[in-house]
Amino acid sequence: MSDFSVIGHRLPKVNTWDHLTGRAKYADDIFLPRMLYGRLLRSPHAHARIVSIDASRALAHPGVIDIVLGPDMPELMGIMPSTQDETALAVDKVRYVGEPVAAVAAVDEDTAFDALSLIDVEYEVLAPILTIQDALREDLPKLHAHSKDANVFKDVHLEFGDMAAGFAAAAHVRDDWFFYDGNTHAPIETHASVASWDGDGKLTLWSATQVPHYLHRELEKVLGVPRSHIRVIATPNGGGFGGKSDPFGHEFAACLLSKRTRRPVKITLDREEVFYAHRGRHPVLMRMRTGVKTTGEITAVHAQTWLDGGAYASYGIATTYYTGALMTVTYQIPAYKFDGVRLYTNKPPCGPKRGHGTTQPRYAFEIQLDKIAADLGLDPLAYRQSILQPAGSRTVNGLRVTSMGLGQALDAAAASSSFGTKHGKLPRGRGVGIAGSAYMSGAGLPIYWNDLPHSGAHVKIDRGGGVTVSCGTAELGQGSDMVLAMVTAEALGVRPEDVHVVSGDTTLTPVDLGSYSSRVTFMAGNATKAAAFKLRALLEDVAAEKLGISADRLVFAHRRVYDREQPDHCMTFVEAAVAAEAKHGTLVSVGSYKPPADIRGKFKGAGVGPSPAYSYQACVAEVTVDLETGEVKIDKLTLAHDCGRALNPVSVEGQIEGGAYMGAGEALMEEQGFRAWMHKKPSLLDYKIPTSLDTPPIQAIVIETIDAEGPYGAKEAGEGPLNPVVPAIANAVYDAIGVRIDETPITPEKILRALGKLPGRPATNRIGPDGLETAQPDPKPFIRKLQATSAGAAGGDSD
């Protein structure tokens, strides 16, 4: 029996009733008096210089109230302060099809839309850069003048341990290339914002954003209005998955149009525009060289990644590091080298998507481990179990591992799916695959390096026993409001429904950095718990006195404060609260959370990867491959996730199931395809996401390791569960048909190509990239640095 009256119980989310009755107000559901409607004019060119823009015909169109252009907001902005390279609307150049260049405000949406065709833009078209290979060439045009080398956005090089000794000690070296295609978040709610410049000269912006705090900062910078006069309210997001965690052009445009017209302005993107706003999963070309002993023990890993970043920075510097940083927290790696480079291309900017930058190398590495197991004749489950990074350890790159449930997750997923009795034993066409992974519970360092808390909360108790918790988190559907309510309710002994949650409002709530990098449960949970326990102490003081017992005998639960040894010796929560207020004054408290300082190494680049705690996952996929059509059907996904403690098992299981679903989509069907520079499928009809009929049965298993620093022992659940799904499916396909698909998505066309069923194509046991063509006469030093290490140097073998 649980010691908790709230934590760990299966409870409906406090905010779900509004969603279920149609009352929840998403950004596009806001209608204000005299509100104008905005639309964005977007570039039809992938790469072009803007010669001139003439909006006079559009301004003369009846019903058009105002138009703003790039030069009206020339300030550079972007989510990462060190790499801001974007303007709200394009100023001199456009760098992808769909980049916004002008914004119209009109009396209604139809009029705004009509006016777009009356804006005359003259472009001088430039040659577009569309591939990783071309972006590495010095002889092609640059997207951004600040790129020092070709179209390199950033390259990073890290080395830990003795690589030479590591590879020298290896009995076997695998050298494999992989490609993980780009894909997008596709939240069902499109981005929307309503800006209102009020009579007092202050601005309010309601927006579907995961990061109200960072948006607040960027609005100040771009609009030149002090943050003290701006209020950002994150409306309930109709799904985010990372896609609403950048500041976007439409948000600034709505604000400036409202400032100039002194009327509220709403801009809602249509579905096609969401594909251009993007910030989705980076396409990443990867090379993994791994040395192992005959037992499979890893002696060294050299990971190289090339990221196709699209036209702007977004979180790209962090993404680049993430394609290397978390490789070490799952399995013991004594020597590790990582080279990553992110490139600019004339495509919609890539950014963070669920699993941010770790999903791609995890796919590569878990397939490679499967290959190593096959090479050495090891069972893929037992092999992984034999090389686990231990709990309470440090990785070679300085990351601190606390609780670590990968072993339990692997065992649980394997046991529930009968992996051991199926792997290698099913008839041709059917197979099972396993993979493990990890993710972080929030980044150890904030985006703006400072000493401020990552999360702050305040809690207030009113005289009727009502409790209000305020925190800057953004509710995306992941259940962050419920986390705040449950943590507060458990601490004070009330019910979650007694707790009023105020979140994501830069005026009303203390700063929380936002709902990204799976940081809310851990960080906002800790901040909230700290605040709630300060008030609890005041109530304990008066209750102990009133009940005549020592405070350590008090239990707070079920809206009562009672004696553990004599439960009917009690007072109600309201009585305790009133007595506490009488003695101590108004009942308001604050709490904040900042990760410990010792969780990272001391080297350039050490800021990305550290987290106060890592979550762990394992997935077993069971598939049937149709040998005639090439279609891969997932029969079942069994996904075990170490979340520390499940604060609300319903929410945790929902995150596991959602991660499994999204991983299945990325594995089999989702790809950000382009026809030359045109997005090939900017609609939900063409960009396939799994429907109910495409989604396999999913079994979610919760593993609890009770992290010592997590709130009530909790770690993240939102992102990690996606990570093992994609390689587990690829490994299952190998088990089914003996073919390695070393690139996503695993389409029927690729299966048929491998099976030799496409005309003129011989059968092959592997589909995937073979290397990176950087065939340039006399490459400059930077190219040599970024080029693949020659396989021969390692002295190992490869296939």
Binding site: Y26, G239, V650, G658
Partner: protein
């Protein structure tokens, strides 16, 4: 653009609105009637978020012109509960965590309502087919199946009881 008068019966209320003749039922519901519970994810008939019931049948409000359905009974998410009494589908969605971000949820619940009225005890496969036009990006559909199954048994308690005794 000329506005036309149009009379609709929504959640039992007779509503007359003046609207542009090319505006869809989705726009009328959200912008003229303030029924913003009906969502939109594409306005192209791809996502199912705007599903409403027209004479009990699921229809996409974004592809429906009000003139087509002037005499029909339209049900939106705001009409699922009767007064203070929630529909069992709503209760079940809450208890199973079937609404994460909640954006597909109104359309999803209305598809479920149509299913359960035609087929009071559907199999999981039948549920999957019934909601295959409603995209959900959060749940992986598992909790939605569980919620619809729970709603089905809540709607026929006698039958569920009989079943559990077998």
């Amino acid at each position: 653009m000329s506005k036309q008068l149009c009379t609709l019966k929504v959640n039992g209320d007779i509503c007359t609105v003046a609207a542009d003749s090319h505006h869809t039922l989705l726009e009328i519901l959200r912008e003229e009637l303030g029924l913003t519970g009906t969502k939109h994810g594409c306005e192209l008939g791809e996502c199912g978020a705007c599903t409403v019931l027209v004479n009990g049948m699921p229809m996409l409000a974004c592809l429906t012109l009000p003139q087509q359905i002037e005499d029909a009974e339209i049900t939106t998410v705001e009409g699922l509960a009767v007064g203070a009494e929630l529909n069992p589908i709503q209760t079940a969605f809450a208890e199973q965590g079937a609404a994460q971000c909640g954006y597909c949820t109104p359309g999803m619940m209305l598809s479920a309502k149509a299913l359960l009225e035609a087929n009071p005890s559907p199999t999981r496969d039948e549920i999957a087919h019934a909601i295959s036009g409603n995209l959900c990006r959060c749940t992986g559909y598992t909790s939605i199946y569980e919620a619809i199954e729970q709603a089905a048994s809540m709607m026929q308690p006698a039958r569920a009881e009989a079943g559990s005794r077998e």
